[in-house]
Amino acid sequence: MKLYTYGIIDSSKQINEPIYGLEGTCVYNIFYCDIGAVISECTEPVQNNTKGNVLAHEEVVERLMEHFTVLPVRFHTVFDGRDNLLSMMQSYYKDFRDNLDRVRNKVEFGIKVIWPSDKIKEHITNAYKKNDKKVSVPGNSSNKRFMREKFEKYKLDEEFEKKANKFINVMDMFFSKFAAEKKLKKLKTEDLLFDAVYLVKKDDQDNFREAFEHIKGPHANFKFLFSGPWPPYNFVILPKNNDLLKDSRQKDLFDKVIQHQDLVGADTI
């Protein structure tokens, strides 16, 4: 019997209320010491990343979050029987415990911001043209003209990044006030200025939300996306070189969780 896994929880007791997972299967807890792996039985590995399957997985994790601290496991993690699962739990026990302690009473929020990059660039270009003191490349040969164009682009890109950093630092300062940890990526594309996830104490959720509204207010020409509270998909840290999990399907148990969140987020939109 294969075991489809949803998450690791800080409990060695059975789940009190009935929870149904992928394809309506019953979800239960297989415990090791004082932690447990929440699974449902399946005969064949679930292959399809369909909206229904991803949402069913996500819903189980969110139900678990109501009662336990949860380390969400990557969608489509299947173990070949109870012995393999327990062997994995034994190997990772200390890491699981450490992670459970880190994320206890915390949830994840995602924030993305699109800025009007075209207008920003236009503004920077106009300011650059008006600047009389700028360094330039003299001469009119094709090589020098090439260098002049390249240098202008270099300066404009530099200014573009400076402006981006300025906005990012202000936004991050507001959100970081209420976050225990964060992962932030700037300018993933020219338009996607800010792409961050924050690990926030449950007690600080409202403050975090307020900070978001506060930032959103004065930036009418920016586009915002707020998501959460999520299980801490992006904040589970496991040692990369642990070779105790030989099965490749299980090796990257928590890897690519961003993709999972994106998938859930995008589908939910």
Binding site: K223, S227, T268
Partner: protein, 113 residues
């Protein structure tokens, strides 16, 4: 909609579009089937050449900014960079590659370029 989590935005399509742009440009494995093995390897090699070309260009711009290049040196550097850029354009065209395809995802370190 999931149980508790919400995704709030007035611009869902724009965000989906941006997220699609950030998907890995290179596959997780080299697709080495007989039909496209050349293109797959060319993509990898050209990505590395493009990285070196951009580094050279950036270094040259820094030196222009610091006024540490003579006019002759600017002329020679300009010629070299222009030829390199043209050659890259030619190679990209031969292998049917776009600029945005020349990148590598370095996992937690982010994209190469």
């Amino acid at each position: 909609m999931t149980l508790n989590s919400v995704v709030e935005t007035d611009f869902p399509e724009e965000f989906v579009e941006e997220m699609e742009k950030t998907d890995d440009v290179l596959p997780k494995k080299i697709d080495a089937n007989p039909e496209n093995v050349e293109k797959g390897l060319a993509k990898l090699v050209l990505t590395l050449i493009e990285l070196i070309r951009k580094l050279l260009e950036k270094q040259a711009m820094r030196r222009v900014e610091a006024s540490s290049l003579s006019e002759e040196e600017i002329e020679r550097v300009g010629e070299t960079l222009m030829k390199l850029e043209n050659k890259m354009k030619e190679l990209k065209q031969i292998f049917g590659l776009k600029d945005e395809e020349l990148n590598l995802n370095l996992g937690p370190l982010g994209d190469l370029m």
